[in-house]
Symmetry: D2
Subunit: 377 residues, 4 copies
């Protein structure tokens, strides 16, 4: 499991970088050639993740300006690896020297030391939420690719602490990315009450992917929902993932949970309901893909906590500095990014599923290309 910093088989993303190292970034290998792409396509996604957006996010001052250093020529992808680099600017490493030898509860300090025998303790190093900046950049590229096929992933805050949205209001824009104004106000109050105590909140993010054609995903280990789970659970604070009706299926019966098929007007079938969350047997069924994930409360709290130091001595720790009292809002775009990466990968994977597709490309595709060449001359 060494060498586990890559994800995806066809649209493969490898990330690198620590919170307070020189830079972080990613290499995307397998993005098809011919996609119009520039840094401008990444910025809107990066902005949704970057620190300093509101009272609920850390004040760390980072532009998070991604630089594409390869794989693009004259504004289009060339099919070669797209490397994206984000230099760290506001590093302030000295802030972290006091946690060099002590293990913060709920963080990966202890486990990194056990695994590697050494860790970059500055700001959590590789285990920092900052690592997700590279994912968001890669996800933006995947999103741009999926746009061509009218596929769109849309994630949002479903709940924070005990406050859950009642409905989805696309016009409700707020700094918690919570699409229900009343819920947003309650959640704000809830977070502020915790902030006063130096405590933190968790929540649930929901993601809906629309426009996914039926037939994506693989029958056994690489089921589309299995890959989504892998992708989403790999985000630092996530402790649970569910598809469609998720854990509620345990309470229902087959007759309630099965989605009836309905003959559609265009020859394609639709489902009368979507308990499955758009995936049947690991393969997309043409309905919206819907999943949720649980985000734990930020482990960095300013209340005193019991812990040990590197040498096993009992200690008390009070974590200084300003931290996100809830990571849910900033994680929304990370969840969306991972969803886009998984679906882009599955789209590419589907190309090899039938010999008919190969014929489409090698016979029709080639002749079409030749014709185009001639037209241009």
């Amino acid at each position: 499991m060494a060498a586990g910093s890559g994800f995806g088989k066809n649209f493969r993303v490898t990330t690198f970088g620590e919170s307070h190292g020189k830079a972080l970034g990613c290499v995307i290998d397998g993005c098809p050639a011919g996609l119009v792409l520039s840094e401008d396509d990444l910025i809107p996604y990066m902005s949704r993740r970057k620190p300093g957006q509101s009272e609920f996010t850390t004040a760390r001052n980072e532009d998070d300006a991604p630089e594409i250093v390869s794989g693009i020529f004259e504004g289009k992808t060339t099919g070669t690896p797209i490397a994206i680099i984000i230099y760290n600017k506001d590093q302030r490493s000295k802030d972290y020297s006091d946690i060099a030898d002590i293990y913060r509860p709920g963080h990966a300090d202890y486990t990194f030391d056990k695994k590697f025998g050494i860790r970059d303790y500055r700001g959590g190093g590789r285990s920092s939420g900052r690592e997700t900046a590279a994912r968001v950049a890669a996800g933006a590229v995947a999103a741009k690719l999926l746009e061509h096929f009218n596929i769109k992933a849309r994630a949002y805050t479903k709940s924070i602490g005990p406050v859950t949205i009642n409905s989805y209001d696309a016009n409700e824009i707020n700094n918690l990315y919570m699409p229900d104004h009343e819920a947003y106000e309650k959640a704000s109050d809830y977070i502020q009450s915790l902030m006063k105590k130096g405590d933190s909140a968790g929540g649930v993010i929901e993601c809906v992917i629309s426009g996914v054609p039926a037939g994506l995903g693989d029958p056994v280990f690489d089921k589309l929902d299995a890959l989504l789970s892998h992708a989403v659970m790999s985000i630092g604070a996530v402790k649970g993932v569910e598809i469609g009706d998720g854990f509620n299926v345990s309470f229902t019966t087959g007759s309630q949970n099965n989605d009836a098929f309905i003959a559609g007007s265009d020859g394609n079938s639709i489902k009368a309901s979507n308990h499955s969350g758009g995936i049947l047997g690991g393969i997309s069924d043409g309905s919206d893909i819907i999943f949720r994930c649980a985000i734990k409360p930020t482990p960095s709290i300013s209340m005193p906590q019991k812990t040990v130091d590197k040498d096993g001595n009992q200690k008390e720790i009070v974590i200084k500095g300003r931290h996100d009292p809830v990571v849910v809002p900033r994680a929304v775009v990370v969840v969306e990014a991972m969803a886009n990466i998984v679906v882009a990968d599955a789209m590419l994977g589907h190309l090899g599923d039938k010999i008919d597709f190969m014929k489409e490309v090698f016979q029709n595709g080639s002749s079409k290309n030749s014709k185009e060449s001639k037209d241009r001359s």
Copy 2:
């Protein structure tokens, strides 16, 4: 995503086979040499999964006798691929001819056709629960390997429908694999009441993995919990996975959810609680690993359901034959198998984490081997 029938990087399992084809099985590539292994090690696991165990499981008559055809010599693994074959005996393919052209709700019939343009409809073909027999065989090999390191995965039924266990009673043995006698009886009644209506039940499986050393898993995409989620969500009927406190973390606060570290007597640290479920930052923390998954109600029910046929015509379907009214009990050992495979893979991956480990093997290890050679001569 073609070529998605393999799982694991170091302990790699590739499965094959359809419900009513000639055989199904797996190839395990990367199992270390020197492990004592025979079919006898697989049987107890296979028995927990096989049909016909009780009134709650399909009456299909299968021995599920796994045959190891490679990778073993004089009772030990040789380091070469271990192929395990399970021939299908009670195939009765004619039973399924009536579903050749019609899509069963909740099944993968429709999505397989969309993906591949063809499907082996006999008993669900590759999407059948029967596919998990190969996983269980592979999981048994992983379990045998982990025994040497005192690692043990133990899965059980946490709930069926609305009935949840109150406590874990290791002495309670029943055909629902539900370790609480009172809950078992209630769950039995619940299932029987559904069976009378031709309906089916879902539930939750919990798995506890004890003895896992701290330091397994990878920091970013291949977090140990991400791999567990991938592994478990890839089991047919699973719709949700959660680690530790799982979805409940969304309601708690940082001060409640963080596990304090306590100085242990032997120099190792322990945690005062285990909300994390044994994984911090994607890496095992030395506590028990605990996760749960939600299993949907069996989609094969005998109540009439609306659906469409291959040509898009509206139809009604009544699924004949005897099916498991609840797959939870038989899925328990499958969940355990996937857990064992993930942990075995992570154990092997950990070997490359530090240059010190390499020195241990290449310097101490080699010299030790040489000495042994001399001793033997």
Copy 3:
């Protein structure tokens, strides 16, 4: 490098099995659905590899009857893994007990023991040439797929010992697979003279792959020639691989070695020569792909040889039994198999190279499928 028994990314072949175990075989994961396939397609390839064909091959009595146990339904591939099993019949394991503790020069006995600490010594176990039976079966499936695109790999004996063919005569059929009658007769004499001494011969195999479209392969590490080299060098006795003019390029100059491009009548370009062997920059250029590999003399010879036993004692060994005095003729079809696997994999990989190909499949492809459905109803 544990878990190294698989090859290919899109058309992935995993093999298993030892020379004298119960069975050997392979699992092909990623073969597209819709390919007409049966055991009959494998037999002609298996026959070219099987023992007992002539005076120059071992007399081991094996049918080498491959059995496809999964992945086929009603005569067509379903897109799920194709498992092929070949049971060992004429095992005669006792023949090999005398080499249990002694290392045969030129064989992998010593290195297997060093690697794994244990080995199945019967007939070379996993390192036996018999392992290639599984490759040939997998290669036959790849060949069947490539037929649909008019791609054909054709390997033959280029030389045996000092005897090289002068030209390629497609009508010359002989048991050395040497397409030049005069060379065949000389080579026969050469081998027979070595057989009398209990010695063995080596040779060179050449392979020509025709019909490969331009554009297959990858620019950097997974160049098409790099993958071919990997594939071919992984065959037991191969000690060298060269593409196009191969090692001779070291003597030529740029002006001699560069292939001029010529405007073709149909808008496609052709090359005035083919020093490149059909690959430029790791990507197929539309010309025939040509490569050669060097096969070492069979290490099993009946002349006495110096060696050591497991405990490091000096010994002399005389290898009994009948062995191929030259493995070149039987390796011809193995080389062809590996070439077919590489090209099938590259064909599938090419599908993801351009966003235009994706559009071809998802827009034209889908609509076409829908139309077909309607036509059928």
Copy 4:
């Protein structure tokens, strides 16, 4: 085969970057923690590859200063991905505008267009030899790791055109990296005579890897020699690879080619000869690993050549600018780099080969670590 810019399973290198893009570089995923490493370790290797070293190399002015931006903390590797970036400085892109629409013979211009439908034509883009700078940086990291185990790869120019070295003189330092002074002088003359005509030369590079323990590599597809072939053939100009006696084995007999084993004084066995080139059955045998590769003459020559343009029109091309008249000297360190990467990967892979190795790490290794912790406190 999309997504083919990575190499290695355990020590995994992914490269990115074009000749005249902003930057090129690599990400190394899987390098063990605890290795002392800085840019200073890379410089000596980069210097051997960089342009402008002599009259025989292009005058392009590049520092090739690699910057490590992640994976190092306080001078040591942390086990997280090591990203290395090399910014392009002397890009002079306008020099290449004249080859935007025309295909240079012997280059990958035509094949890139066929594959991707678009190409970065500036200096060959991704197919430029400049891509190897990233490999050399990664190889330097692998070399540093291998130093700890006394493993050393050493490549040198074996021949240029018709001039071959007679012996290896470690003290002979020259700009052709040709360790035989007399041969060096003849080769110099040969190249200069070609330069006058605007032509170019090829040659052969040999690499010797000493100190490799027996037991590395995998029995079937991932044989150590197969991986070396893959690695070396993936270097742009390489047209052939051979191990040990290579193509010469075709002329020898088994009795000549087999290496006898000799009882060594220390209980380990040695071979009386090394025709095998240090690899038997795909696994290292403890002798030096020796391989050679053939490098084609630089395709960029200033003599007029026939070619076609993008629209298929017949053209003549004269390639301007100064190019290496022979790439052999600069490729020497690239070959060495790839050898180091393969062996580092195989070293890590070997750790999982035996259950005894696992015990060594998890039992002895852990206890040792704990003890160390105590000592330190």
